[in-house]
């Protein structure tokens, strides 16, 4: 059985020093999936739009269309990968470096 089963089934949320770090790590993981996942998906979709060597309007549309499955994939992976550090590094890393790259590239000339 899974953890949500164990904790919610047990009733009142267990408190104490043992559990609190787990709550924080799950909160951070969820934030990474939700906010970081959006940022990473936005950055990847925008890179597709900016770099695909096809008509600007078409590349823009492909980026927008693909953004949602990308977001879903990243967010779900955040809950599959066991190592939180790896999750955070990948998601926030893509968002930061991709975002930086887009900033350097500027608006398509």
């Amino acid at each position: 059985m899974f953890m949500h089963g164990r904790i919610l089934k047990a009733g009142p949320f267990p408190s104490g020093r043992r559990v609190r770090p787990l709550v924080w790590s799950m909160a951070f993981r969820s934030l990474t999936a939700l906010v970081g996942g959006y940022a990473a998906a936005a950055v990847l979709a925008t890179l597709i739009a900016r770099l695909l060597p096809i008509a600007r309007v078409e590349a823009t549309s492909w980026g927008m269309i693909l953004s949602f499955p990308i977001y879903a994939g990243i967010a779900l992976w955040c809950f599959h990968e066991h190592r939180l550090l790896r999750v955070a590094a990948a998601v926030w890393g893509i968002a930061t470096f991709g975002g930086g790259l887009l900033w350097l590239l500027g608006v398509r000339p």
Partner: protein
């Protein structure tokens, strides 16, 4: 807690599937139900104005009467919007964008509804009609833009729940044929699987395409990276006509009828919308948009004419594969292209979506209830929210339709009162059910729902001249079908009440579950 995540893929996906469904489930249920009703948005609106019977006229005639009306009330407006009647909409809707008037307080001109035959304002009871369910479906009755953001977030949860749910299933084909009734939790799992798996292509399509309908709001960044002015994207993608400034030189507007006929010839389909910019100015333009029933692509092309002499100015060129994909996704979601039979199929599939979300929520409680044990707070909370939404929302929706017949036709602010009725009744039901034991609350909730829906055709017959069985005999198809559909919904809810009254306390069939449900 991290130990929970990252075992096998199926396990982690089952875990996240449960959370996604639980957190977004209630809003998703409401979005599915009101969205499903929205497939009949124009029909609901027609039903909610029973005193108006349109004389069918051509779109060219309707456009001309609307322009005549607008010349009378707003000859110097900046822009006119005219939404023409079609096979499903009986009225012409117009909207003026007025010149900013320093004297008048900032007031938006309201939308006006015209009789297409005469161009006179329709005299019928004030109502939001089917528009209310449609707006609630993606705005959730919250202030702009929060409702749309929340709806988008829930749709994203849904997309995640679909992907993780599919991964969780190892027997997706066998589940097609598996429904074991009256086996407690096992049955809820089966019902959830059947409603989800059977209509999976629909669920995946409707969720993804729903996000696409508001993609410009949810994911504007690709536009930002490629266009210095976002309006240039709209121009390139949707063929928004070029902005032409008013010259100040007056020039009378040409007759609109021939333009509508010409556009119809160019489209090979009827015209849905007319936009007149700077009417009665030498630089005025008339843009006509194709009706979205003409194609799977929900974004029809447009043509623009000069308003002063009617010459052709520009028309949207063919779009590339990405824009066509986006347009078709939009079209698939709003289903304007669908013929009546397909529309009913959409309606039934929408109900399976509500059933999938509903059974998923019920499964969550069924799985955690232990025979003999006092339910913990979370379980009681989820169960009560389930009753409040799954049994409560249909009652609220029925109350909205009933209010339309019971509030006097000339009452002040009656459109707002109708909407308020829906939420007060829904909220009232959600609170009052707390007074009853949960199993009784389910049965009684469904029973009240059945009664309220059954009351709709009765109220229709008592308060209008278009009720059953007269509407059937006189061939008033829309009214007859609407009232029969209400009786069908009532029967469905009665079935729910009957079944929930017979459900036994959770049975012992729990053994194989840890393997199959959210293992």
């Amino acid at each position: 807690m991290t130990s929970a995540v990252g075992t096998t893929l199926r396990q982690s996906m089952a875990w996240i599937h449960g959370w996604l469904g639980l957190l977004a489930g209630w809003i998703l249920f409401a979005m599915f139900l009101t969205g499903t009703a929205s497939y009949f948005r124009p029909e609901i609106t027609q039903w909610m104005q029973p005193e108006f019977r349109a004389t069918p006229v051509s779109t060219a005639h309707a456009a001309q009467t609307a322009v005549t009306h607008l010349q009378r009330v707003g000859a110097d407006d900046i822009q006119w919007y005219i939404y023409l009647p079609d096979a499903r909409t009986a009225v012409t809707r117009i909207f003026e964008q007025r010149k900013p008037d320093p004297k008048a307080a900032k007031r938006r001109a309201p939308e006006i509804v015209l009789d297409p035959a005469t161009g006179d304002v329709v005299r019928a009871r004030e109502t939001r009609g089917g528009e209310h369910f449609y707006r609630f479906h993606f705005q959730l009755q919250l202030p702009h833009p929060w409702g749309r953001w929340l709806a988008g977030l829930c749709a994203m949860f849904m997309l995640g729940a679909i992907v993780s749910g599919v991964i969780t299933h190892k027997r997706i084909f066998a589940d097609f044929f598996t429904l074991r009734w009256n086996k407690g939790q096992r049955s809820w799992l089966d019902a959830h699987n059947v409603s989800a798996v059977l209509a999976l292509p629909y669920h995946a399509m409707i969720t993804y395409t729903g996000l696409i309908t508001l993609v410009a709001m949810y994911m504007p960044w690709p536009v930002v990276a490629n266009y210095a002015k976002p309006a240039d994207f709209a121009q390139a993608a949707f063929g928004t006509p070029t902005e032409r400034e008013a010259t100040g030189t007056p020039a009378p507007l040409v007759a609109i009828g021939p333009l509508v006929a010409d556009a119809k010839r160019r489209f090979g389909a009827s015209v849905a919308t007319v936009v007149v910019r700077n009417p009665n100015d030498a630089a005025s333009t008339v843009t006509l948009y194709r009706h979205s029933s003409a194609s799977l692509n929900g974004r029809g092309p447009s043509v623009t004419y000069a308003g002063s002499d009617g010459r052709f100015l520009e028309g949207a060129a063919d779009v590339g594969p990405a824009l066509a994909t986006a347009g078709v996704m939009l079209g698939l979601h709003v289903a304007q292209f669908a013929s009546p039979a397909l529309r009913w199929a959409y309606f039934v599939l929408g109900l399976t979506g509500a059933a999938m979300v509903g059974t998923g929520l019920l499964l969550w409680t069924a799985k955690r209830r232990k025979p003999g044990a006092t339910p913990f707070f979370g379980l009681k909370l989820v169960e009560r929210l389930n009753i409040g939404v799954i049994a409560g929302l249909p009652i609220g929706m029925a109350a909205y339709l009933l209010a339309n017949r019971l509030i006097p036709a000339d009452a002040a602010n009656r459109a707002d009162t109708e909407v308020a009725t829906m939420f007060w009744v829904w909220g009232g039901v959600a609170v009052l059910q707390l007074l009853r034991p949960a199993p009784r609350a389910w049965t009684e909730g469904f029973a009240i729902g059945a009664l309220t829906f059954a009351a709709i055709p009765v109220a229709d017959t008592l308060t209008t001249s278009r009720g059953l069985p007269g509407s059937m005999l006189s061939g008033d198809t829309l009214f007859a079908a609407f009232d029969v559909a209400m009786l069908a919904v009532a029967a469905l809810l009665a079935l729910g009440a009957w079944r929930s009254s017979r459900s036994k306390p959770v049975a012992k069939i729990r053994k194989t579950l840890s393997e199959t449900v959210h293992a």
